[in-house]
C-alpha cells in the first residue's frame, strides 16, 4: 500500500516538475538580441532618442507577453553619433561581434545607406522607421517610414490646390533633401507651378537672417522645409523675427516630428503645415494605449511623433513575424512579415511586396497651443511607391550615383 502511494505521489511530483519547466522554459533559453542603432550624440540625437524610448517600450511589451517562443528580447543600444561612418562601424559591430538578430535604427538617409551595405553583406535585417525619400529597395531592409507618394507628393499637391503655385525649397544638404527637391521640381512642374528658389545648409549650421530676406524677396506662396534637427529652430525664429507668419507665407515642414514642436518658439510655428503618416491626437484605441504606456514609462511630459510610433510598430510587427516563422533570417522572416496586418497607433498597417509600409497620409496644421488640426487625410492606406513615376528606376539610380560621386563618395555634403 505504501509503495503504491509513493509511486502515485512520485508520478504527480514528476508531472508538476515537467509542467513548471515547460511553462517557464524561457528561463533556460538564450535571449534574442536586438540592435538599437541611433544617434545619442550630435545634432540628430534629439530626434533619435525618442525612437530609442519607443523601441525599448516595444521590447518591454513583447517580453511581458512572454517573448518570442519563450525567448526574451535583449536590447543592445549603440550610438551612431549623427555620423554616417559611425553608423556603419557600429552596425558592423552589432552584426559581427554582438551577433544581433535584427537592427532597428537610423534617422538620416546617409546613415541608412551605410547600414544597408553592412546588413546586405552579412544577410542581417534592418528595420528603418523614418519617413524618407524612397528610391531604394533592399532585401535586407523593411521600411516603415512614408515614401514620397505617402508624404511630399500629396503635401505639395494640396498646397498647390489650396495655397499657391510658387514654392521655395529649403533643406539640409543631405541626400534626403536633394532627392526630395528633385522630385518636387518634377512634380511642381507637372502641376504647372514654379520653384522660385532653393537653399541648402549644412546639418550643424543655422538659418541666417539674410537667408530669410532672400526668401521674402522671391515672394513664394509656400516654403517647403526639409531641414533636419536643430536648424529648424533658427529657421522658425528668423521667420518670426522677419515678421513672417504662416498666414502670410505658409510653411510646410516635411522632416519635423510632432514631438519637435515643443522645442520651437510656439509663436513662430503657429499655422505651419506638417505631413505625417500618424496623428498623435487620434482617439484610435491603439494610439491612446500606446501614448498611455509611453507616458507611463517616460513621464507625462513625454511626447510622441510619427517616427516614434513607426519604431514601436516596427518591432511589434517584426516580433509577430518571428513568432510565425521561428527564424530571424530575412529570407524566412520577411515573407511572414508580409502576411501580418498590424493595428499600430496610426491605424491598420501592412507591408507591401517592395518591403515598404501601406499607411495613411495625414496633413495637419499647427494650432495656437501646439496641437495639430487635421486638414486632409487619405481615405485609406496608400501603396508605398518607391520610385516616383516622373523618372524611371534607372534614371533615379543614376541621379543618386551622381550625387554620391559629387559629394566625394559620401551620402551628405562634405
Amino acid at each position: 500500500m505504501k509503495k503504491i502511494f509513493w509511486i502515485i505521489a512520485g508520478f504527480f511530483a514528476l508531472g508538476l516538475i515537467i509542467t513548471i519547466i515547460w511553462k517557464y522554459t524561457f528561463w533556460f533559453k538564450a535571449p534574442i538580441k536586438v540592435g538599437i542603432l541611433h544617434s545619442q550624440t550630435g545634432p540628430l540625437a534629439v530626434n533619435e532618442k525618442r525612437l530609442i524610448n519607443a523601441e525599448l517600450l516595444a521590447i518591454d511589451e513583447i517580453n511581458a507577453q512572454g517573448g518570442i517562443h519563450g525567448r526574451k528580447l535583449q536590447p543592445i543600444i549603440v550610438d551612431g553619433a549623427s555620423n554616417e561612418f559611425t553608423f556603419a562601424k557600429e552596425a558592423l559591430r552589432l552584426v559581427t561581434k554582438e551577433k544581433v538578430d535584427v537592427i532597428i535604427g537610423c534617422w538620416s538617409s546617409a546613415s541608412r545607406k551605410r547600414v544597408k551595405d553592412v546588413v546586405e553583406k552579412y544577410n542581417n535585417l534592418l528595420l528603418y522607421p523614418v519617413i524618407y525619400e524612397g528610391l531604394e529597395e533592399s532585401p535586407n531592409i523593411i521600411y516603415f517610414g512614408g515614401t514620397p507618394n505617402q508624404t511630399i507628393i500629396p503635401a505639395i499637391t494640396w498646397c498647390f490646390n489650396n495655397i499657391g503655385k510658387r514654392f521655395f525649397l529649403i533643406g539640409t544638404d543631405f541626400l534626403s533633401s536633394r532627392a526630395t527637391h528633385k522630385m518636387l521640381e518634377l512634380h511642381i512642374a507637372a502641376l504647372g507651378g514654379e520653384i522660385v528658389g532653393s537653399h541648402y545648409i549644412k546639418l550643424k549650421d543655422k538659418v541666417l537672417p539674410e537667408d530669410i530676406q532672400n526668401i521674402i524677396a522671391l515672394k513664394p506662396d509656400v516654403i517647403v522645409n526639409k531641414l533636419n534637427g536643430d536648424s529648424n529652430i533658427s529657421f522658425f525664429e528668423e521667420l518670426l523675427r522677419a515678421g513672417i507668419t504662416s498666414e502670410q507665407i505658409p510653411t510646410i515642414s516635411l522632416r519635423i516630428s510632432q514631438a519637435d514642436f515643443e522645442r520651437f518658439p510656439l509663436k513662430s510655428t503657429i499655422g505651419t503645415y506638417v505631413l505625417f503618416n500618424y496623428a498623435a491626437e487620434s482617439l484610435y484605441h491603439f494610439n491612446t494605449l500606446f501614448i498611455k504606456n509611453y507616458k507611463k514609462k517616460y513621464g507625462q511630459q513625454a511626447r510622441v511623433g510619427d517616427a516614434t510610433q513607426s519604431a514601436y510598430s516596427a518591432l511589434h510587427m517584426w516580433a509577430q513575424a518571428y513568432q510565425k516563422s521561428n527564424s530571424a533570417k530575412p529570407q524566412d522572416l520577411i515573407p511572414m512579415l508580409k502576411t501580418i496586418v498590424y493595428q499600430s497607433p496610426s491605424g491598420i498597417i501592412y507591408i507591401a511586396e517592395n518591403q515598404h509600409c501601406w499607411q495613411d497620409v495625414i496633413l495637419s496644421k499647427l494650432a495656437y497651443n501646439g496641437d495639430l488640426i487635421e486638414i486632409w487625410k487619405s481615405s485609406r492606406n496608400v501603396y508605398p511607391e518607391v520610385y516616383p513615376a516622373y523618372l524611371t528606376k534607372n534614371e533615379w539610380n543614376e541621379f543618386l550615383i551622381n550625387l554620391y560621386e559629387s559629394w566625394g563618395k559620401r551620402w551628405s555634403a562634405p
Binding site: 507618394n149 507637372a190 497651443n369 488640426i373 496608400v382
Partner: protein, 1047 residues
Amino acid sequence: MSFGHRFVLYSLLMSSALLVPLYFFIGSFIVHKTEHKLTSIRDQRTQQIGQFLDKYQRAIREVFNQAAVLQAIDALVEQTHRLDSASASTHFTQLVQSYKHILDYKNCVLFDAQGTVIFSDATQYTGLSLQNADFSKTELGVSLQQVLMTLTADIAEFSYDPYLKTPALFITTPLFKNNKLHVIVAIRINEQNLYDITDNYIGLGASGDLTISKRIPEGVLYLNKIRNELLTPFKKFLPLSYSSITKELSPAQRATFGYTGSGNVVDSLNIQSLASWSYVPRMNIGISSKISLQEVLKTFSWYKNGILLLLLTLIIVIFLLLIHYDAPLKTGMHIGFRWVQALFSHENRLRTLLHIVWLISCICISGGIYYGYVLKKHVIIAKKNEMQSQAEEAKKKIEHILYTAELVTQTLSYNIALGRLDEEKLITYIKKYISDNKMVAGISVAYAPYAYKENKKLFGRYVTHTDKGLETFNLDELYDYTQSTITDAHYKIFYLEGLKTKGITWLNPCIEMLSKKFVAACSNDFYYKTGKDLIGVVTVFVDMDFVTKRVEEVMFNSQGTPFLLSEEGVFIYHPNLNYKNNKETIIELAQKTASPELTTLWKEEKNLNGFYSFKNVALEEEKNAYFTPIAQTGWLLGMLFRSTLLQPPLSVMRHYYMHVLFLVFFFIISTLMLWFKVYRFQNRTFITRCFIVSLPLFVCFMMLLAISYHYQIFYGTNKNVINTSLEAQQFVTEKREIATIIKEQVPITIMTGIEVDSLQKTYEKGGIKISGLVWQYYDEITHKDITPGILFPQASQQVELTKQYETKIGTTTIIGWKFFLVLPYAWNERLYPLDINEISIAFEHPDLSKNIILIPDLNAYRNMNPVYLPGLVKNLTVSGFDIKESSFSFKNIQPKTTRGVEDFGQSTWYLALNFDIVVVRTIMNAILIYFLPIFIIMFAIYCFFILNENKQLDSKETLAAYTGLLLTIVFLHRSMREQMITSSVMYIEYFFILTYLTIFILSLHVFLQEAGFNKKKWYRNLASGYKTFFWDVQILVSIIITTFIFY
C-alpha cells in the same frame, strides 16, 4: 484490505482520473482541429483575394501599356472638348474589349488630370467631374481624389455605386506621359470573380459560412451573400452599437476592425460558433469563416456522453467498493509530537482523509454561497463598467470635437489679432477653416464698434454652408449686433453672448436660420495685445450632427436610450426627435414616463455624474440612468435603461444554484462517508440507515427541481420586445437608417393592435386556435396607395377575417377586424412538466410591393408591462397552462423565398410584427397525474422486493406482482404519450424508463436467485447493498437526469 482489493481499487481510481482529461481533451481536440481548418480556409481565401487584385492590377498595366491603347487614349484626350465625337470612344471601347481575355472588366472610365470624365462606357458617368459634389463623395470620386493627391494606384472601396445603382469595385490607376499625369483609368472589375472566391463553402459543413464585410460610419456592412440567412450582397448590416448576447464582437466585426484570430464566439445571429477572422489588406475589408459549434460537436457528443457516464459509474463503483472492502478502522491516535505521523499512519489514513474531505466540503459550500453573493455584485459592476466605458468613450469623442472647435476659434482669433486683414483675406481664411474642419458648419467674425476701421461702426462677416454651398453674409448690413434689444437667439450668439465671459463661451445648440442646421456656437472675444481693447468676437458653429452621432454610439447592448441634455435639462439629442424639436426637458420626460423620482433626482442632485436608479410608476419597473458631464459646455451625456439589464442572466443564476446544490451534495456524501467509516454507521437499524441516507438526497432532488422550475429554460426566439412607443420609434428609425444604407425602400409604418379573446390547444393537429380582434390605422396622406388589410402568414387554415368597424378621426381611418385562425404550433414539451411555451402571432401587410412595417398601437393598452398581459382579454385561460406574459416584438422572418419580390426578406423588408404570449405549464397537474402514480408504483415495487428478500413472498408471486405493476406503468405512459405530440424524449419519460429498468433489474434478481446465484458471497453483498441503497440509487439517477436536462 488485501492486495487484490487494493489493486482493483487503485486501478479504478487511476482509470477514472484518466477519463477526466480525456473528456475535456476530446472536445478541445475537435475544436482546435476545426479552428485550424477555418483559419486555413480564411488564409487561403485572403490569399486568393490578394492574387485576384494582383491579377487585375497586372492586367490593367498590361492593357494600358499597349501602344494601340495609348494612341486611342491620346485620341480621346484630344477630343475632350468634343465628346459628341463618338468615333474615338467607339474605337477605344472596341480596343479595350478586345483585351477582355486579359482584363475581365465590367466598366471602364477615363478621367483627365483635373478629374473630369473623358470617356465612360457606362452612360451614367458621362460628363461628370470632381467639381460635381455628389460624384466627389462616391467611392470612385474618393478614389480618384486620392490618386490625384498621391499619384498612386488605388483600390476603391467595394460599395454601392449611386450612379450604376449596383455594388461596384473600381481599381483606379494613374497613367503618365512625358513626366506628367496624363489620364486616370478606373476599371470596374467583374465582382463575380470575387464572389467565386468568397461564396465557396467547401469544407464549411452545413452550417458554415464565409463572409466579407467592411466598416462604414454607421457600422459593419456584409459584402457578399449570407449563406444561412439567404441575404444577398450588401443587405446584411450590423449597427456600430451591436453586440451579441455575450457582449462579444461578432467574427465579422472583429475582422472588419482589423483583428486577426480564431476561437469560440457568438455570431451575429447569437449562435455559438467556431470562427476565424482577419483583415484583408488593400481591400480594407474583413474576412471571417465560421461553423456552428453544435455541428462541430454533434458527431462527438456520443463519445463525450459515454465517457461521462463511464466516469460516473466508476465513481459509484469505487464508493461501493470502499465501503465493501474496508473493515472499520481502528480508533485511537498517538499523542504529542507524533501526532502528524499518527494522523497519516496506515491505520488512520482513511479516517484522516475522510475528515479532510469533509472539511473541504464545508469550505466549498461556504465558498459557494459567498461566491453567489459576490457574483451578483460582480455582474452588476462589470455591466456598469462596460456601460460607463461606452459612455466615456463617446464623451471623449464629443469633447474632442468641441476642443477642435475651440482650437479653430482661438487660432482664428489669434491670427486676426495678429494682422489687420482686409475683407477678402478674412473671408478666404474663414472659408479655409471651414473646409479644413468638417464639423464646422459656419464661422462668424463680428468686430467691435469702430475696431475694424475708424470710420466704420460695424463690420461683421458670417460664412456658412447653405444650399448654394459656402455663402457669405454681411452681418453689419443685416442688423446691429451690438444691440441687446435683438430677441432672436440666433443673432444674439454672434456677439453679445460671446462678450459675457472673457475667452471661450459655449452656447446651447439651436437651429441656425441661414444654414438651417442644428448647431452649437463657440464664441471667443479677442483683444489687442494689451488685453483691454476689444477687437471683436469670433464664433465657430459646430454641426451638431457630428456630436449626436457620437451620442448614438452609447447604446448599451442596443437596449438603452442615449441622450444629451443642456445644462438646463433641455434635450439636445434623444432618439425620439420630438423631444429635441419641441425643446422638451428631462422633467417633462419624467412626467410622461411616470417617473417622479427622476424629477426629484434632477431637481435635487447637484453635478449629476454616475449611475442613479428610479422607478417607473406606470410600468412598476425599476429603471436606471447614467450621466456624465461634457467638460467644455456642461452638457450631460446620459442613458436610460432597465434595471434588468444589470442583472445576471437566468441561465447564469440557474447554473450557480445548481453548483451550490452539487456542493451540498458533496457535503452530504462526505458526511455520510465519514459516518460510515468512522462513526459506526453499521450499528444503526436498517430503516434508520435507509432513512438517514435517503432523506438528504431526496431534499437535494427537490431543491434541484425547485431551481429548474424557478430558473426555467426558455427557448425564446431572438426578438426585439417593444413595450414603449419610444422603443418602437427607435426601432423604426434604426430600420429606416439601415434601409437607406443598404438601398432598400424606406419602410412605411402602419399602427396595428390586437386583443385575443380565446386561445386553445388543438391536440389532433399540433396547433393552436386563436380568436380575437385586430385593428389598424390608415392615414389619408401617408397610406394613400395602400389597400387596408392584414395577413397572418403562419396560419395553417383559411383565416376568418370579418370587418367589425371602421371609424374616421381626422385624416385617420381606424379599421377593426374580428379574426379566427389556427396556428401550426409545435409545442415544446421536451421539458414537460417544467416547460414554457411562447405562442407568437405574426402580422404582415398583404401589399408585398411596399416595405411596410407594422408597429404596435401601444396607446391602446392600459399597461404595457408584459406581466399585466396587454392584448389579452381578462380571465383568458389556456388549458393546462398559466399565462406568464404577453408583449409585442419584431422578428426578422428570414423567409426561404423572395415570394417573387426581389428585396423581400432582406434586412428591413417585411419584419414581422409579433404578438407573443408566454405560457407556463401548470405543474400541479403533472404531479397529480404522473409523478404521484410513478412514486406509488415504485414504492410498491420496493415493498415486493423487500418481502421477497425476507422470504415472505416466493419468486412466482413476486414476478406476478412486478408484471402487474409493469402493465400499470405502461398504460400510464401510453396515455401520456397520446396527449403529447412531441417526438423527442420528454423529461418525465426518464422516470418511466427508470421504473421499467428497476422492474427489469428486480425481475432478473428473482431469476438469478432461482438459478442459485444467491449462494455466492459477492452476489449476496450486491443484493444487500441494492436493498440498503434502493432509494438512494433511484434519487441519484433522478438527480443525474435532471442535471443533464436542466443544466
